[in-house]
């Protein structure tokens, strides 16, 4: 029978540092009968009072476990038999208890993270003096251990205890006196999560209470959710004096939501796009458009298409070859004081993927041949769809290409992404009546390209010259296949 303080299915252990190769010592156990109380292993000459808490093996098939939650926080006092952490195995969530008294000095593996069986997930110190040492141990255990916990906060309890000498209970005029901080349950949770000091905030909610929105504002995060409620009937009542002042000091600049509207928060990708777009406003840009005849390019495309070459690859290759002759268009202005010439020509190409926009990069597009480039592009698009692009595969671009021609768009205007000098917007190629120098009319396929560039480094003449080169390459595309 299990010992009285151990419930039947909990596991307790933690061991001395000496036994860091511990997992071997544990018999494999099947789920329904885990019942070992860790018998005090013979600790031969243990001086250290710092112990590790290991990832336990909760089933015979378990090789790693995920920390569901830490029941205790860093700095909490633990006593023998108490639950410290909840671990998810392949089969169940289980509480892991400590077999020693002490202080949880450091959490090595945080909530939601995974560790192999036997790995240290936390450090237990016997006395407060050893916490620092234990923390150093924890830091060495895991580079990821960024949690430098504040000195053990004695009260994790979030409700401020009122001073005993002034019992609010006895004072009927409690609301008239100096206001104490009132925060809603979710606000308190958020504050703990984002390490926001509630006491330092001024609440904007009803009766001056601190709302989850206040915490989010203080933590600098975007509101993460819509209020699930209906348009909740605001409690209309004579405004309390405190409310009136907070209202006037915080004029709302956001228009009230249209009734019936829904708010959908950005995904991570959308948030990144939004951030880049706002940043782009700080760059002085200008645009130059250029008509390019594409009959020759179209003919070439028909020839190479069976070999897997796409129009995107052709355009990227043409742009890259033009950039070789106009390095300034491939440069960028990082600090507002200098040109940064890029040694590689990396063409980023905007791709719409489900619910977002990403720019996979064809690196060294000037050097690779058309076929390799096409193959490379195909791989990149597949990776982008599967959301498996590595950072250097989407953020190393030096020049961006955006093509909406396939939708019939004849011309458009692109926003320059931060960190690049220029972006080319390509419209559809369509039959156009042209008169040549001799006055003969003919019908040629013409496509409008429009380049947006950073005028701090790229001037009108530079762009015009680049476009002229680009146009020549497209009109005589044989060089693309070389």
């Amino acid at each position: 029978m299990a010992s009285p303080f151990l419930s039947n299915c909990t596991i307790s252990f933690s061991s001395s540092l000496k036994y860091s190769t511990l997992p071997r010592l544990f018999p494999s156990v099947s789920f329904s009968s885990i019942r070992f109380k860790s018998t005090p292993r013979r600790i031969l000459t243990v001086r250290s009072k710092i112990r590790e808490i290991f990832m336990p093996a909760l089933s015979s098939t378990m090789t790693e476990g995920k920390i569901v939650s830490w029941v205790k926080s860093e700095g909490d006092l633990l006593s023998k038999g108490e639950s410290v952490v909840v671990v998810e195995s392949d089969k169940a969530d289980m509480d892991v208890e400590t077999f020693y008294d002490g202080i949880l000095a450091a959490i090595v593996v945080g909530e939601g993270e995974t560790a192999p069986v036997g790995a240290a997930i936390g450090i237990l110190a016997e006395t407060e003096d050893e916490i620092a040492e234990a923390k150093a141990k924890a830091a060495s255990k895991s580079g990821a251990s960024t949690r430098s916990a504040p000195p053990p906060a004695p009260a994790a309890d979030s409700t401020p205890a009122p001073p005993k000498s002034t019992p609010a209970y006895a004072a009927p005029t409690v609301t008239e006196g100096p206001r104490k901080t009132v925060a809603t349950p979710y606000a308190k949770k958020l504050a703990k999560q984002h390490k926001v000091d509630i006491e330092s905030l001024v609440g904007t909610g009803p009766y001056g209470r601190i709302t989850p929105e206040d915490i989010e504002a203080a933590a600098g995060i975007l509101p993460s959710k819509t209020n699930v409620g209906p348009v909740v009937v605001a409690e209309v009542k004579p405004a309390a004096p405190t409310k009136a002042t907070s209202d006037s000091s915080a004029p709302s600049s956001i228009p009230p939501p249209v009734p019936g509207s829904t708010v959908v928060p950005f995904t991570t990708m959308q948030a990144a796009v939004s951030k880049n777009m706002v940043e782009s406003i700080s760059v002085p840009t200008f645009r130059v458009g250029y008509p390019v005849t594409t009959d020759a390019l179209d003919a070439l495309y028909e020839k190479v298409k069976p070999k897997g070459v796409t129009m995107t690859a052709l355009l990227a290759k043409a742009a890259a070859m033009a950039l070789v002759q106009h390095p300034v268009v491939n440069s960028s202005c990082k600090d507002g004081k200098s040109f940064s010439y890029n040694s590689n020509i990396n063409i980023a190409i905007a791709v719409a993927i489900n619910g977002g926009l990403i720019t996979p990069v064809l690196q060294d597009a000037d050097k690779l041949d058309l076929y390799l480039l096409s193959q490379k592009w195909k791989e990149l698009v597949e990776k982008a769809r599967a959301k498996q692009l590595q950072p250097q595969e989407y953020n190393s671009g030096t020049f961006t290409l955006s093509n909406l021609g396939m939708f019939g768009v004849d011309r458009f205007d692109a926003i320059l992404p931060p960190g690049q000098g220029a972006i080319m917007a390509v419209g559809a190629s369509k039959p156009t009546v042209v008169a040549d120098a001799d006055g003969f009319f003919s019908v040629k396929n013409k496509m409008l390209v429009n380049v947006t560039a950073d005028h701090r480094i790229i001037y009108g003449a530079d762009l015009a010259a680049f476009l002229q080169t680009f146009s020549k390459i497209v009109e005589n595309p044989e060089s693309l296949t070389l």
Partner: protein, 571 residues
């Protein structure tokens, strides 16, 4: 008579678990146990089977016999009776007793002073299930993670408060009319008015302002139920400080609501309110949330139902004074330490729900006429529900069932007690095994239990000198639960390894309330683990959680030879 059918009390489970003879239950703190089952809904349909039996003769009502019930012979039992059985209170308990009485051939009347259906149907289990159905769906639709895992895309889910409230109200009306119709169809007389016991085998009833009628019956069952218990110092205004009666009407969804009491009622309402966008603060007098549950289940439930939600809590505190919102001030709640009685904190919230349990509704029953003293409002009864008078003697022909006797405040327990009483008065001795009565809390996921908790079982084992074992299975290992992406959950079996007796089963997980019955039936029928483990469960179903649970138990006894299906059946 105000009739109430169901659940909830300030009764620690252990009291009826170990000493069901003692109706005087020591209560130090408001523990809030609410057992809520919707069992009686089925009775709306059960009339079909009963109505074809030969009860027609009772439709000829013998009102002529009423002359025997005149005022002069008060105090002496009449020689002949208007009815075989009169039930005071048409809640779920009274209804269950009435139906069974008709089946047994008794001429039956039921007295109701309020509405048929009592608390359960009108202000309890039934409307709360409607709200919880809504909250469960809202919760699913709002869980982006859950939806994504299933490959579903839902844009922001919203709700219409009035629509939700109407759903609850419509459900209650429907069940109420089902109940009424089922009794009418069987020939049960429904007498309207408040019932009072005026003497042995004699009851008067009548509406206020109308002359009273006096009827006699061979046996009388008191089934008057309970009302929400509101501790003193708390001012209920029905708008910002409310009880479950008001909350079920869902007249508002406050931004922030404090719930006093973290038992069944409080827990279910926290599920509803948080799903509808409120933030919740629990106030619990004991040191732990969810007292009354098996500690391990409670711990897991707290991790799933409390911690990740917009809920915080104060434990070990009493709310000594709650003032409704008025004059531009919020609801204020004054808290004192439950042990030291020192002021601890003052909360300011938008609303407060008082869920501190339920108090018996037995005032005005006329019990003094037959020398019966209630104990804190509860009518004292023996294990056969027969009423005990002030001298400790049994009162002949008088029984009390349901919340009014406080044994187990559950709608289905009241009904079971009623059926047990009818069995006795028709000549078959019957004692109800309260340990076989399941209880459920309809949160998402649900919690259910039957029998003893682990600490109770261990205490009993120590006293009686037997061994106790525990087996557990996780919903994570169940195919159906994983298909639903609801792998969070645990089933726990407490049993005797020597003879395979099931002492208790506790389930936390998807549809736990429906799963418990395999275990409660086994306890009721005395089925042992070594036998039930051979029963077959359809695959893949949630019921395999229990299948696995029984199979994982290590029982020393072998399967009994008289297994139900002894003859192999070829197919």
């Amino acid at each position: 008579m105000h009739s109430i059918c169901s659940q909830a009390t300030a009764v620690p489970r252990s009291n009826f678990a170990f000493d069901s003879h003692a109706p005087a239950l020591p209560i130090s703190k408001p523990i809030n146990l609410r057992f809520c089952g919707l069992r009686k809904e089925a009775f709306g349909f059960s009339g079909l089977t009963h109505s074809c039996s030969s009860r027609v003769r009772f439709t000829s009502r013998g009102h002529s016999k009423r002359i025997s019930a005149s005022a002069e012979n008060n105090g002496t039992p009449p020689k002949s009776f208007d009815y075989d059985l009169i039930i005071i209170g048409a809640g779920v308990g009274g209804h269950g007793a009435a139906l069974h009485a008709v089946e047994k051939g008794l001429k039956t009347a039921i007295i109701e002073g309020d509405v048929v259906g009592g608390t359960c149907v009108n202000r309890g289990c039934v409307p709360s299930k409607a709200l919880l159905a809504v909250s469960g769906k809202m919760r699913e639709l709002q869980s982006e993670h859950h939806m994504k895992a299933l490959g579903l895309q839902v844009s922001a889910a919203g709700y219409d408060r009035q629509g939700v409230a109407d759903h609850a109200n419509n459900l209650a009306s429907k069940i109420r009319s089902n109940l009424t119709n089922s009794m009418k169809a069987l020939g049960v007389d429904i007498l309207t008015g408040f019932g009072t016991v005026v003497g042995p085998q004699k009851v008067k009833y009548g509406k206020v302002g109308f002359p009273d009628n006096i009827v006699t019956a061979k046996d009388i069952i008191i089934a008057t139920g309970s009302v929400p218990f509101v501790p003193k110092g708390i001012e209920v205004d029905g708008k910002t400080v409310i009880t479950s009666d008001h909350a079920l009407k869902l007249e508002s969804v406050p931004d922030w609501i404090a719930i006093v009491g973290s038992g069944y009622i409080g827990l279910e309402f926290s599920d509803v309110y948080t799903a509808l966008g409120s933030e919740v603060t629990f106030i619990e007098a004991l040191d732990q949330l969810m007292p009354g549950f098996d500690p391990e289940i409670g711990k897991l439930a707290q991790r799933v139902l409390i911690n990740p939600r917009k809920i915080d809590y104060h434990t070990g505190v009493f709310a000594t004074k709650i003032t409704p919102a008025k004059d531009g001030k919020p609801v204020t709640i004054e808290l004192i330490d439950a042990k030291t009685k020192e002021p601890k904190d003052t909360l300011e919230v938008d609303a407060a729900l008082i869920a501190t349990g339920r108090a018996p509704f037995t005032n005005g029953l006329g019990l003094e006429n037959i020398n019966v003293e209630t104990q804190r409002g509860f009518v004292p009864v023996d294990e056969r529900m027969q009423v005990i008078d002030a001298n400790g003697n049994l009162v002949p022909h008088l029984y009390c069932i349901g919340d009014a006797n406080g044994k187990m405040m559950l709608a289905h327990a009241a009904s079971a007690q009623g059926i047990s009483v009818v069995e006795q008065v028709t000549g078959r001795d019957h004692v109800l095994n309260h340990l076989s009565i399941p209880a459920a809390c309809f949160t998402h996921p649900e919690i259910s239990m039957v029998g003893l908790t682990e600490p109770q079982a261990r205490e009993k084992a120590e006293k009686e000198g037997f061994e106790v074992s525990v087996a557990k299975t996780s919903f994570k290992a169940n195919t159906k639960a994983l298909a639903e992406n609801e792998g969070e959950g645990l089933a726990k079996l407490i049993y005797r390894p020597d003879n395979g007796e099931i002492l208790g089963v506790h389930i936390f997980g998807l549809h736990a309330a429906d799963l418990i019955h395999e275990a409660s039936n086994a306890i009721a029928l005395g089925t042992r683990i070594q036998d039930i483990k051979f029963a077959v469960h359809a695959h893949p179903t949630l019921s395999e959680v229990l299948d696995e649970l029984f199979k994982s138990a290590k029982v020393k006894a072998t399967a009994s030879s008289h297994v139900p299906v002894s003859e192999p059946v070829a197919v």
